[in-house]
Symmetry: C2
DNA sequence: ATCGTTATCTTGACTGATTCCAGACAAGGA
DNA sequence: TCCTTGTCTGGAATCAGTCAAGATAACGAT
């Protein structure tokens, strides 16, 4: 219980993977470690970070991420116009803010509390099991940047 | 070139395009007409439908859609895992339900009214200008299909 | 109705993200 | 330890979307 918060414990990462019913292999531990350190990382960032320590194939990372996602260890988010990102914060009802300029993403809790948008007044007969909210705007950094170019209006 | 038929629908579509400050060309009128008939169509569906009448290049459709989107004539939505879709219902604050099985999409109005999710309690310092809500679930058709199990979280 | 300007469209190549495939390989259980 | 099964590697394929250059046509003015 007395672990240093600033340090990522490799052993516990492996345990977490096993706890999800998966084998704790090198690439998996490495990917999950990076993901704890860098929330909302995309495959490319993950690949770069992991390769600083180990050698991994692109395919392995995609594979690992799919296995993690399926096991509920990570959540995959896919903001329009950018490659898929992954985060370790799962199981709660939180949403995202994405910067239109630099693509930075951050977590936000739902404004109204529990899950307001989970109960749309008219669901068109759909059986809804999840609602996803993405807020678009400018991150603190890009707000102060004077040379922000918004050419790609997406 | 004997222009025999002059469709009323086409004329008004052309007017709408001109009203948005764009030239009313063949591909544009055709694309917008299809979009009015088939909401939430993706580029592929649009291309197929338009080509039933005219000859258009893929590029033209992408181009037309970008112009329309920029002009505010259509709205581009991009549900995770599927290509971009377009709709003509713009200017209001409505969201979408997407079927996890067949990808069907439908419009839904926001549960709480105006724009609850536009004002997250904690915006992390982001300057938010738009919020997007996507509900995931099963469409009426896929709910009754028996070749798959439902109710078990995604 | 014709002309000129310039926004649009066509063709065809190209990038980036993600997946498929087949074989080599390693983690865990008997 | 040996086996089975799940993983990882490398390479090629697919799919969505974009870039570029030249041909074409829409719209306003004459």
């Amino acid at each position: 219980m007395s672990e240093t918060a600033s340090t990522v414990d490799t052993a516990s990462t492996a345990d977490r993977i096993r706890a999800a019913g998966l084998r704790a292999t090198g690439p998996r531990v490495a990917v999950l470690d990076v993901l704890y350190a860098v929330p909302h990382a995309d495959v490319d960032a993950l690949l770069t970070a992991v390769r600083a320590d180990t050698d991994v194939s692109t395919q392995a990372v995609y594979d690992v991420l799919r296995a993690f996602t399926k096991a509920g260890l990570v959540r995959r988010i896919e903001p329009a116009g950018s490659p898929a990102r992954f985060e370790t914060r799962v199981g709660d009802n939180h949403h995202h803010v994405v910067c239109r300029v630099c693509g930075a993403a951050a977590d936000v809790d739902c404004a109204v509390g529990a899950a307001p948008c989970l109960d749309p007044s008219n669901d068109q007969g759909f059986l809804i099991d999840e609602s996803e909210v993405t807020h678009w705007g400018l991150c603190p950094t890009c707000q102060t940047s004077t040379h922000m170019e918004r050419g790609s209006g997406a």
